[in-house]
């Protein structure tokens, strides 16, 4: 490994520091993800590997749901593509903040680390993206995410039903923390979130009432995302600066 300059070492340390609160949040949320994984029949080692490689709350949750349903491989791939589609946009936004001479390896390394939170802290830094800063944040938070997942799979057994029931909403709490603040700032997003709640509820009920077995939870997510986000994009195209929003 190349020796780090003082400047790089400082950025790396700052990344480690900013990674700590992310790691704490990840651990609790990953634990509830582990409970979902346990219900899907995953072992702790499998959950750990999935979390190290994917480190995506919504994507992993949707993926584990698809695995539990023994979905076809293409459906799993499409589900992950759709639930992680926001990382495409974040990756696009990050590419505008990279210095042009950044190597392919750093692009792959930082890209691999994109999550809502790591993207957020990376973009919040001034100037061009410093890959070592992002690596610091990743080094603290991603193992915590994976350990939380593995522990959720193992300890989901030991914990009383009431505690499991309580922890199972942590993930949804985190989703709310991601979608509600932008919904407050942007009226279109706010209306879209509300409409999504209603459509999700209605479509879920319809699937149950008419016994539409093909209309699984994962399929509903894909269908509603394409329809509602597509409709919003046609009716309310974004202004230029919003592409760079976190």
């Amino acid at each position: 490994m190349m020796p780090m300059t003082m400047e790089k070492r400082g950025a790396f340390r700052a990344g480690l520091r900013d990674g700590v609160p992310i790691a704490m949040g990840y651990f609790a949320v990953a634990f509830s993800l582990g409970i979902a994984g346990r219900n899907a029949g995953l072992t702790a080692a499998q959950g750990f590997v999935i979390s190290i490689l994917n480190h995506a709350s919504a994507g992993e949750y949707a993926g584990i749901t698809a695995i539990a349903a023994m979905a076809p491989y293409w459906e799993l791939a499409l589900t992950i593509l759709i639930t992680n589609a926001r990382y495409l946009l974040m990756s696009c936004a990050l590419s505008q903040r990279f210095s042009p001479e950044t190597s392919l390896w750093h692009r792959l390394g930082v890209g691999f680390g994109i999550t809502d939170e790591i993207f957020g802290v990376t973009m919040a830094r001034m100037g061009a993206v410093e890959p070592v800063y992002t690596y610091g944040a990743m080094l603290v938070s991603i193992p915590s995410w994976a350990a939380g997942t593995a522990l959720g799979i193992v300890a989901g057994n030991i914990l009383p039903l009431r505690v499991v029931s309580a922890l199972s909403v942590a993930l949804y709490g985190m989703f709310l923390a991601i979608i509600i603040p932008p919904a407050r700032r942007d009226r279109v997003v706010g209306a879209l979130v509300l409409l999504s709640f209603l459509c999700s509820f209605a479509l879920g009920r319809a699937a149950g009432a008419f016994r539409l077995d093909w209309l699984t939870g994962g399929t509903r997510v894909i269908l509603l995302t394409v329809l509602l986000a597509g409709g919003a994009a046609v009716l309310f195209p974004i202004k230029e600066e919003e592409c760079h929003g976190g």
Binding site: L42, I80, R86, L88, L89, F112, A170, Y172, G173
Partner: protein, 103 residues
């Protein structure tokens, strides 16, 4: 085709990796299509909202506890609370409500 856990893990991880690194490595300039940029902008909100409701109400032992956790989560997030506090408070609401209702 489906059913092998290791193929499932490989498919998940490859798609996750591709989604994250492809724009960063391939697209050096800005995406031109306003529709695609708008679509991508709206995607996370719809996806996460659809996944959250009504699932949050159905995952708990008592639907009332889930509904109150949803209300608390929306309220706290609206007030600007971060990821960790919102997630923990939702859990505590369920723990408290089910302690009264389910016990």
């Amino acid at each position: 085709m489906g059913g092998n856990i290791y193929i499932y893990i490989a498919v998940m991880s490859l798609v996750s990796f591709a989604v994250r690194v492809l724009p960063l490595t391939l697209i050096r300039g800005q995406i031109k299509s306003r529709f695609i940029r708008s679509f991508l902008y709206y995607v996370p909100y719809v996806t996460l909202a659809v996944m959250t409701f009504p699932a949050i109400v159905e995952t708990t032992q008592s639907p009332v506890a889930g509904a109150l956790a949803l209300a608390a989560g929306v309220g706290l997030a609206f007030a600007g609370a971060g990821l960790f506090p919102v997630a923990v408070c939702c859990c505590l609401v369920v723990l408290a409500v089910e302690g009264v209702l389910v016990a």
